[in-house]
Symmetry: C2
Subunit: 306 residues, 2 copies
Amino acid sequence: MAFDVLQDKILKMRNPTVFGLDPKPEYVPPFILEHHISEIGPTPEAAAAAYYEFNCGLVDALCDIAPAVKPQSAYYEVLGSAGVRCLEKTALYASDKELYTIADVKRGDIGTTAEAYSTAYLGYIELDGVKTAPFGFDAVTVNAYLGTDGLKPFYETCRKFDKAFFALVKTSNPSSRELQDRRFQDGRTLYETVGDLIKGLGGELDSYGYLRVGAVVGATYPEELSALRKRLKEVFFLVPGYGAQGGSAKDAACAFDERGTGAVINSSRAIMCAWKKTGNDGADYMEAARAEAVRMRDELREAVGL
Amino acid sequence: MAFDVLQDKILKMRNPTVFGLDPKPEYVPPFILEHHISEIGPTPEAAAAAYYEFNCGLVDALCDIAPAVKPQSAYYEVLGSAGVRCLEKTALYASDKELYTIADVKRGDIGTTAEAYSTAYLGYIELDGVKTAPFGFDAVTVNAYLGTDGLKPFYETCRKFDKAFFALVKTSNPSSRELQDRRFQDGRTLYETVGDLIKGLGGELDSYGYLRVGAVVGATYPEELSALRKRLKEVFFLVPGYGAQGGSAKDAACAFDERGTGAVINSSRAIMCAWKKTGNDGADYMEAARAEAVRMRDELREAVGL
């Protein structure tokens, strides 16, 4: 249950990496994009077909060394329904290759709306007794601004379908300090308050001692990350901000408990765009992505002591 | 620019209503849902086709008396890409009928991701020089938890395409108090701080004196709504919580300035499900929706003095 499926994979591969699938036209090797545009024309459908081919290639290249994948929904939604269809297919393909799949959607709403969001990404719908899983991800990211009303439906869906979710606690961007670092009159910052709120949702612990609700905490603020690791002992962390955004492996290592468990570190651009540094116009995008993923894995292994 | 297009429509119709299109299988008249299921089978595609027919019927029934429409994305996403295709088509249909369209997506992310979200809902993409508008909404709802990094890209997209966005300030749900009402050490609540943050984005004022960035403020907290109306003079309000959630017309009226401008009030379930109260199994869903919309309009006219 909860995060132990992911943790098992991380320990087996000795690699706490989740790789992002955040495609943009300029991230896709030109030969892939041009092929689909020449077949279908310069349409969202062509871009979506190119993204899918690229995503499948990356999944194939990495699925035996990386435990998890995290598509960022925005890059699919910007292609409209054609992009969302690509997201559906990508989730299915990655699941078939036994990757743990995280939908980075950062949804946040109340009541039946939050129920619909959580069902969309983690559950299934039923029409006339026939069940369909719209996306079938293993976990999802959530924004907690609306409070418990917005989190409970995600929690319930996760319990029902044996899934998990990550709430945004302390994000990796510079202006995360504007609201998140601000201190309330009780002495806690907003992000500490959100952390306490999600921890308070409670529930059973998995075999590694983690709850079904996790937290997004950026590697770009290693002090806050270390403090949160101590404060939220039972909360599994999804850590963005490593690499391109400036977080080092040493920074990211602050997300782990003393056993080397409890977190997964994201890398998107460095892996997806590794082909840009080899001078082969993307012909070797799979090898390039794998080489960067191995480099990151080895760096994290050493920093975390895995 | 900004909200004056919406405000013009509101004054012309003397109706500050935005009607929600938040479909669920049980909200759609059975004859519509059964027709599509019998044609296609019990699939997300059938539900999406039924939602589209229902949405078009509601748009037809209301477009001459209500200025704006707000689909809630969650109810489309739960049908996967078939649902998102229905959302695209619904936005287009409503725009063709000259409704002001608001995408209730509550997205919130940083940098290029926020840029992708804002482009998806408000802008257009370009492939080989060919432009496509994925959804083409007039405005979008946004979550500000990530700070300015998350808002600026929405602001820039809005400026570029002459659109507008609403940031969540004080939401209508009971647990909005857990985080939003909490007071920081400088004496401001979180929701006041978010309000000040979005106001601080600045920019030119439209012909009614409003900025390009608006705020979501619930009718269920009329005192806070009144205080925010005074605090954020240049900020246009999108007000949920009227009707089913407990906010009265008098409560909602607190959202307006002394001229009777500056806000739009949402109603979803009461209008969509009006047919359930007439005993005709949905055969009269258009008339029933219109009757409820007229009732709401007249109530708001009186309360606001429009």
